[in-house]
């Protein structure tokens, strides 16, 4: 096995670490610093969720799924509109009961979508060039974006999880003014954490999870001993669809369900570059690093840059992740935890 060149990675890590604590060294109050960090962690959890769906599919079917973001949008649209329509259709009370039923239905829709993708896209194309599959997922992306608008509409829709948007102040006794966090973000974080934990147990402790890992490890071997690949693909895409639904729900609740969700979900790309395409812990950690990194740099580095170079404005949040990913590609293309070779299993 080739020895990894750790020097540049460590250097990059040190730079990031210094950048992280720099605001404190520069005299920013600890309370405010923690507040920004927490906010970053919560945004990061959502990136992690989308990246997770991406990694699952890449591991199990070797497909670089461009459609992950479109799946988030599609699922969120389905959830928002069904929750809106269901009270009129079946007389279920609006609000949480309607949302719960809509969630179940949207899960079903994502499962059907997984079956269709397996049948129409994967099965015919699996023996082909990986580029064909990549193009196919691009096709799925545009189809889902367009088709989603056709059935669900193209306005901005609300998802109401019944959590107040008012921020809460915690740790008032420790820091002057306390730390401001939003309840909604807190709930989102808890949901994401439960989902990640649940998936980890599912993968490690169940027969189906074991089959998924076997397929991810060596899909030809798995097929030769009679593990049904097609079924595994459906399951993986369905799980990724479910993850997209959860991400779409919490993101949609926060920002409204709209086209920009799909774009936001594209952040999963730098996240998986950072964490490694085949690593679930990498997806989670990568999401958190990027979430915190962009918040810290937006809030603290932005004003410094503006002052120093007489720039127009912030917007660091929009490019931070991509620059970091680019740096990572240069010093460690396989990501933090990924396997050395990124080719199809």
């Amino acid at each position: 096995m080739a020895t990894k060149k750790n020097g540049p990675v460590i250097a990059l890590g040190v730079v990031l670490g210094i950048g992280f604590v720099a605001p404190l060294l520069a005299g920013q109050p600890l309370g405010f610093f923690l507040e920004v960090t927490l906010g970053g962690l919560m945004a990061g959890v959502l990136y992690s969720l989308v990246a997770l769906g991406f990694v699952l599919i890449f591991k199990a079917s070797g497909v670089f799924n461009f459609a992950q973001g479109a799946m988030v949008l599609f699922a969120a649209l389905a959830l928002a509109r069904l929750a809106e329509w269901l009270p009129g259709w079946v007389g279920i009370p609006a609000g949480l009961p309607a949302l719960a039923l809509a969630f179940v239905l949207a899960t079903g829709i994502m499962i059907v979508l997984a079956m269709l993708i397996e049948r129409i896209v994967l099965r015919p194309l699996v023996a082909q060039d990986p580029v064909a599959l990549l193009m196919a997922t691009l096709g799925v992306t545009f189809f889902l974006d367009g088709f989603g608008q056709t059935i669900w509409g193209s306005d901005v829709y609300k998802i109401d999880m019944g959590i107040s948007k008012d921020p809460t102040i915690i740790l008032e006794s420790m820091f002057q003014g306390g730390i401001l966090i939003s309840k909604e973000d807190l709930v989102a974080t808890v949901i994401a954490a439960v989902l990640v934990l649940g998936l980890a147990i599912f993968f490690q402790k169940t027969a189906t999870g074991r089959a998924l890992r076997a397929v991810a490890d060596d899909h030809q071997a798995a097929q030769s001993i009679g593990i049904p690949l097609n079924r595994i693909w459906v399951i993986v895409w369905a799980v990724a669809g479910f993850v997209a639904l959860v991400a779409g729900m919490v993101w949609g609740a926060k920002l409204g369900v709209q086209f920009s969700l799909a774009q936001l979900a594209l952040k999963a790309l730098p996240v998986v570059i950072l964490g490694g395409f085949t690593s679930i812990p990498g997806a989670i950690l990568g999401g958190l690093i990027i979430g915190v990194g962009e918040k810290i740099s937006e809030v603290f580095l932005g004003p410094v840059l503006i002052k120093a170079f007489d720039l127009a404005g912030g917007g660091i949040e929009n490019w931070f992740a991509y620059v970091l990913a680019l740096l990572f590609l240069m010093v460690r293309p396989e990501g933090l935890f990924g396997e050395k070779h990124i080719d199809r299993v």
Binding site: F202, A211, R213, A214, Q223, G226, I227
Partner: protein, 261 residues
């Protein structure tokens, strides 16, 4: 001589032909396998032995001929179907899940026996958990049987080659197959490891009555443990019979000595 208790034909290979483009890997091959017997397939490199096993468990689909298994004609059976109907398999080039532990690898072989639904598993419901525990206990027996207890949690990729071969066997055994297809289970082993492997194969045959189809290059081993032998050469069958008969067959001797090649 071990006591033999050979039954009726369980697997009947009829006129199988398989080609890859211009390469005729198998040409009109017929032979049968009887219940509880140890049936060897031998032949020089490239003779088509592995291809034959691949046809039997549905990895390859022969262009011609049919395979009758337990009285049922099987055409275009897939690997899942084969495994489910009791055909187990090990591989010449190991096909283990290298990043997974020994226990997990062998458990994947047991997956076929696990019937609780995916939803029950996902929600970690009682029946799914009980099943997992029950089947795991069975797999622990397989691990004990193959004497690899010390490696239970070791990722397979880090084990010595000879022991990986055992894990491969264990994974096949875990499904409690009626017919076990072994593709060169002793290749690359030293004398001692070969003896161990022979012992396991014979124990499986004796204790569980498992029918065994075995590809092996070591003629000593073949003569020792098999009841009947099929000889392939360049995709054709050139011999079939008891070890004594095959060993004295002039055409077989010619193929092995390379006369005329």
């Amino acid at each position: 001589m071990r006591p033999r208790n050979i039954g009726d034909v369980i697997l009947d290979v009829k006129n199988i032909s398989l080609s890859f483009g211009g390469v005729k890997a198998l040409q009109n091959i017929s032979f049968d396998v009887k219940e509880h017997e140890v049936r060897a397939i031998i032949g020089p490199n490239g003779a088509g032995k592995s291809s034959m096993l691949n046809c039997i468990n549905g990895v390859y689909h022969p262009q011609e001929g049919e395979i009758v298994y337990q009285g049922e004609v099987r055409r275009d059976m897939d690997t899942h179907h084969a495994a489910e109907s009791g055909i187990g398999r090990t591989f010449q080039n190991l096909a283990l899940f290298k990043g997974m532990s020994v226990l997990d690898n062998i458990m994947t072989g047991r997956n076929l026996k696990m019937k609780t639904g995916i939803l029950a598993q996902a929600l970690h419901l009682g029946p799914a958990r009980a099943e997992e525990l029950r089947e795991r206990e069975f797999v622990e027996h397989v691990i004990d049987f193959l004497e690899i207890q010390a490696y239970r949690k070791t990722p397979v990729g880090r084990m010595p080659y000879g022991l990986q071969k055992r894990v491969d066997l264990g994974r096949a055994l875990a499904a409690q197959p009626k017919v076990l297809l072994l593709d060169e289970p002793m290749a690359g082993m030293n004398m001692e490891e070969k003896q161990d492997m022979c012992r396991f194969v014979l124990d499986i045959n004796d204790e569980f009555g498992t029918t065994i189809v075995l590809i092996e290059h070591d003629m000593g081993v073949v003569m020792d443990i098999s009841d009947r032998v099929v000889v392939l050469d360049y995709g054709r069958k050139i011999g079939d019979g008891t070890p004594e008969v095959v060993r004295n067959d002039p055409e077989v001797i010619k193929a092995y000595l390379g006369v005329g090649h």
